[in-house]
């Protein structure tokens, strides 16, 4: 058993990280702290999940959110997708293993992966609306959010949701407010099977190794850790029994990365755009200087008068 985090003290404690620990800030630059905090991570062991949705309830409760009463369309997913209130969601997949012909019930807890290279932060146009702390947590600062939805386009995992109530983006915070005072995320606290554990990223990788060895000994020869390098690794990781094909887990991306479209949009397009506008302005200035204004001469006026008084006859108007 993974040792659970100790219960918090009742005495007020100063937060363990804050603005001084930012390593990235959307649409602005920060001076990164001299010393990076120990990276944290949440490990979700899909093979141990029983689909009870305690994590979803704990998430709603801790974040003081209320999900709308939904409708049953014959699947276990409830709600049907991530919402501005539900930062996490159990996604259920019934998968027939072609090798064993067994039906496997794959249950993945979806939510923000807290990428080391966050696409949402890259896409965000509002200074300080998305921040990344040196412990790896990517957080939305709602006071600065303008609700444009660029983070939705930047995210390789389709996680952020824009609220129709206040037009701001919402997603899992990795319970940054709890972590700041030495507690683990609410979902990890509520998980009855320890399918969700929380700790330093190194500890989580080590713990995952043990789990993977165990799974392999039970015949899951492709068991492995999902810590995708395309986004620099993540601070939410999965242990998957079929790590060779993550897409069977309700479309978990096989090799997630920030879309090249987003890279172009947020990279070369900006510079090319400014360059094009600047060049166009420069061309007109240069032309203006060297060619001079095009002026109407008195001769033109005379000719026009002639034409008006004696319109050329014979031609059709």
């Amino acid at each position: 058993m993974f040792p659970p985090l100790p219960n918090p003290t009742t005495a007020p404690t100063p937060p363990r990280f804050g603005d001084q620990d930012l390593i990235r800030r959307s649409a602005s630059t920060v001076t990164p702290p001299a010393k990076r905090q120990t990276e944290v991570a949440k490990l979700i062991d899909v093979s141990k999940c029983i689909g009870c949705k305690a994590c979803q309830s704990a998430c709603l409760q801790w974040n003081d959110m209320v999900e709308e009463v939904g409708v049953n369309v014959g699947v276990y997913d409830n709600p049907h997708d991530l919402t501005p209130a539900s930062f996490t969601l159990m996604r259920f997949t019934e998968w027939e293993n072609p090798e064993t012909k067994n039906l496997e019930w794959l249950i993945r807890k979806d939510g923000c992966m807290h990428c080391e290279d966050p696409g949402c932060l890259k896409a965000c146009p509002a200074p300080g609306a998305i921040v990344q702390y040196s412990n790896g947590i990517v957080d939305f600062v709602h006071d600065n959010c303008i609700g444009c939805g660029y983070c939705v386009k930047g995210c390789p995992f389709d996680i952020p949701r824009i609220s129709k109530v206040d037009n701001k983006a919402y997603k899992c915070t990795l319970c940054s407010d709890r972590v700041a005072v030495g507690q683990g995320p609410a979902c990890a606290k509520a998980c009855p099977t320890q399918a969700i554990v929380f700790g330093t990223k190194d500890d989580m990788k080590q713990w995952a190794d043990g789990r993977i060895k165990d799974l392999k000994s039970r015949g899951f020869k492709n068991a492995g850790l999902y810590d995708p390098p395309g986004v620099g690794g993540t601070h939410v990781m999965y242990v998957l029994h079929h790590a060779d094909k993550p897409e069977i887990y309700a479309g978990l991306p096989n090799n997630p990365r920030i879309s090249p479209l987003v890279e172009i949009w947020k990279g070369v397009a900006k510079y090319a755009g400014f360059a094009a506008i600047g060049a166009m302005a420069a061309v007109t200035v240069v032309h203006g200087i060297f060619s001079g204004a095009s002026r109407v001469s008195p001769h033109d006026e005379e000719k026009a008068k002639e034409m008006a008084e004696k319109p050329p006859a014979g031609e059709n108007a």
Binding site: K153, I162, V296, P298, M307
Partner: protein, 243 residues
């Protein structure tokens, strides 16, 4: 309004230099009042659209959101400016699409564009109501506005976020930002052209140009106006419509 006053207004600072012999010029009506209101509303929409769009284009221009009441307001109002521009340009399009149709003379005009840019417009083929460059601005603006409103709706998260996939939104937002750049470049050419060819501003401000201006830049158009019996668009200094 007397003809003399009109002359002074139209020609002042444009056609006459100090010391030039004073020629009582012909006054030519170029744009109706409705067309000018339509144009300037569209132009105002463009400026607001560009300012609010640039605010979200690059962090160094985010301060422009202050003009619109902050980031949330800028995000809210930018698409509505877009709708406004779209409607405004639709009005201009319905007004002017016929006179902007391609004519064979445009081809030979384009071949001699260097002569035009050098200021030797007399050596150019005669031009009707609009020259090739003006037509190009008209059509490219029209095409780009269609592209911008199309992609703009796709990324209008507040009302249309649910109707497209994330990948479609990514394509739309990239095309939208590139289209905006091209539109601003065309706008620069449009404004420069109006300033460079002196006497052009009065066309859109007062609706009238001097006969000399029409003779120099749009001779075929002036010829047609003068020939037309019904028109009273050309007024000679004696105040009678050309016959």
């Amino acid at each position: 309004m007397s003809v003399t006053n009109e002359r002074r207004e139209v020609v002042k600072g444009d056609a006459l230099e100090k010391g030039d012999p004073v020629v009582e010029p012909v006054v030519v009506v170029r744009y109706s009042t409705a067309a000018r209101i339509n144009h300037w509303l569209t132009a105002g929409g463009f400026v607001l659209l560009a300012l609010s769009g640039f605010a979200l284009f690059h962090p160094s221009l985010y301060w422009l959101t202050g003009l619109f009441g902050g980031g949330q307001w800028t995000r809210t109002i930018h698409p509505w400016f877009g709708v406004f521009l779209f409607l405004g340009f639709t009005g201009l399009f319905l007004r002017f699409w016929r006179v902007n149709l391609w004519s064979p003379a445009d081809g030979s005009w384009l071949k001699n564009i260097h002569t035009f840019l050098a200021g030797d417009e007399d050596k150019m083929p005669e031009v009707g109501r609009f020259n090739f460059a003006q037509k190009a601005v008209f059509w490219w603006m029209g095409i780009l506005i269609l592209i911008m409103i199309g992609t703009g709706v796709v990324i209008w998260e507040q009302y249309f976020g649910a109707y497209t996939t994330v990948e479609q939104k990514r394509v739309a937002v990239l095309v939208h930002s590139l289209g905006a750049i091209v539109m601003v470049c065309i706008l620069i050419v449009h404004i420069y052209g109006a300033v460079w060819a002196r006497g052009t501003m009065t066309a859109m401000v007062k609706g009238k140009v001097s006969g000399g201006w029409a003779f120099k830049h749009h001779r075929m158009w002036l010829r047609q106006l003068a020939r037309s019996e019904k028109t009273n668009h050309v007024r000679t200094p004696t105040g009678t419509p050309a016959e």
